[in-house]
Subunit: 345 residues, 2 copies
Amino acid sequence: MEKQDLGRTEIASLGEFGLIEHLTKNFEIQNESSHYGVGDDAAVIDNTGFLTVVSTDLLVEGVHFDLMYVPLKHLGYKSVVVNVSDIYAMNAQPKQVTVSIAISNRFSVEALDEFYEGVNLACKFYGVDLVGGDTTSSQKGFIISVTAIGQAKEDELVYRNGAKPGDLICVTGDLGSSYLGLQILEREKQIYLSNPGIQPDLEEQDYLVGRFLKPEARKDMVDIFKQSNLVPTAMIDVSDGISSDLMHLCKQSKVGAIIEEAGVPIHNDAKMMALKFQLDPLTCALNGGEDYELLFTVDIKDLDKVRLMPDIYIMGEITEASEGVKLHSTGGKIHDLVAQGWRHF
Amino acid sequence: MEKQDLGRTEIASLGEFGLIEHLTKNFEIQNESSHYGVGDDAAVIDNTGFLTVVSTDLLVEGVHFDLMYVPLKHLGYKSVVVNVSDIYAMNAQPKQVTVSIAISNRFSVEALDEFYEGVNLACKFYGVDLVGGDTTSSQKGFIISVTAIGQAKEDELVYRNGAKPGDLICVTGDLGSSYLGLQILEREKQIYLSNPGIQPDLEEQDYLVGRFLKPEARKDMVDIFKQSNLVPTAMIDVSDGISSDLMHLCKQSKVGAIIEEAGVPIHNDAKMMALKFQLDPLTCALNGGEDYELLFTVDIKDLDKVRLMPDIYIMGEITEASEGVKLHSTGGKIHDLVAQGWRHF
């Protein structure tokens, strides 16, 4: 939430360039490849000998986040996470980010400081340098555009299009928790709106709420793959929901897939909370989105490597394209997977 | 202007991923360094042996553009121009762009097609590849985020911070025309709003209106510098207005500057139109912004090289920081330059 009166500095008092200086002064350069950062027409990145990997996302208040329950510091952190997650999903290392924001004058400099504090924490944690951005005003709401730039050796890069029939389908963590964390926050928002006197009851659901408010990208997995000498055949991060993301992977790889219901990892808290909301836990796990786990496929010969890795769940197998993308339920039935994903339009 | 009913396709009918496919299907890859484009978690760029240069801008409807008089195709074109201009201002060659948009459902697919047609034209003209982006909805208005990626050899890169006392201050074209083009469009908008029956009268001011609606980045200059074996000591593109941009350059170079009023290039149409609007032509030229010319400094030993180049105006000289940033008027007086620039807040 933005600060209201206490120590409020109007953005106009700094001016656009003063504002950029103010917001970026605490960022330290961490990568040798960050040749030149904020302050010129463009950032300069030295990637000699590596491929450069670029990913970008646009986040809009009221569509991607609700400042009623997303603190600005978490929002700044998550904005970076969402993008570096895309770089990890290429099996690459993020090195730089640019962060652009458009803001209405209802935000104070202190509010933006909180946002950039989150950005800075994420930059430090993921070892990326803020090398540029743009700061402008909006007529309404808060808009964030982040571009992440990473590097990888050519033979390490993993695309979405390399899966082949017989490959194992793996995921790095439980699914649906972020979605259920969001449901809790949404419920409390509705209660608050109808009765502002009532304190929010998050039911000690730190795990679920945390998965939504402060997700982490799986930086660790890319390191583990390297140590294990494993290169997945295809990989994507789980942002839209695993049904949707798996279908992207299958479409690009021109394959089908079969997922075992029993292989879909669901945290116990998520199961309980889904039932409380009268939702199907499996549907939440398949379509929830914003988990930021890595969904990847490996050749069957790498089964033993994958088995030894922490956090890895084997969910199913890649099939021929003609077989479609299916779910094998614990009851023994075969269902079509439906990609609901996030629908913004 | 977006199309209203004729052949309107709702964005929701394509879905987010269908929309991206639809919008990007006519883009062809032009650069060998564009290893992998749209369709994965991140684009892959092969910049072996070159430095990578990255620039990003966020454009917001109602702040940076007004769809009452900016056709979407021009907007798409200009969105790319604004960014590649920043890359040229580093004396680098743009190679890739990512384009992200957030749009409310008042826009149809046909409207977005027009926007992307403009993006595509600019990509072709400047030889850059569209390699990624994000497409999402907004609660209100149209928001555009473009990131441009370029490359340069280390010894060719030109920063803002290399100007030194005695250097000549040059600009690649006339100033203030874009601002006056905007004034004409703003005037006609106001007339239209108070009486929609009246047809806009652009007074055959094609040059001024064109400078605003379809500016070009100075791709040609970077080539000419190379042919002439000239590396400017500092460079910036004129986006905020030359007063503001010169002050950035001086601040970063830790120098002062003196500009000759007689050396400020103003197109005759701009002079006439400024007087018609009862504006001072010089003020329009100094503070107008959005000219997208290159402002650069060269060592005095390169005077003969600069003299032989087309379109180059020598405006003044770099001085010691203690002398400040000044204007020497034709009347012989010395004034402080004031950076008004664009004020969005």
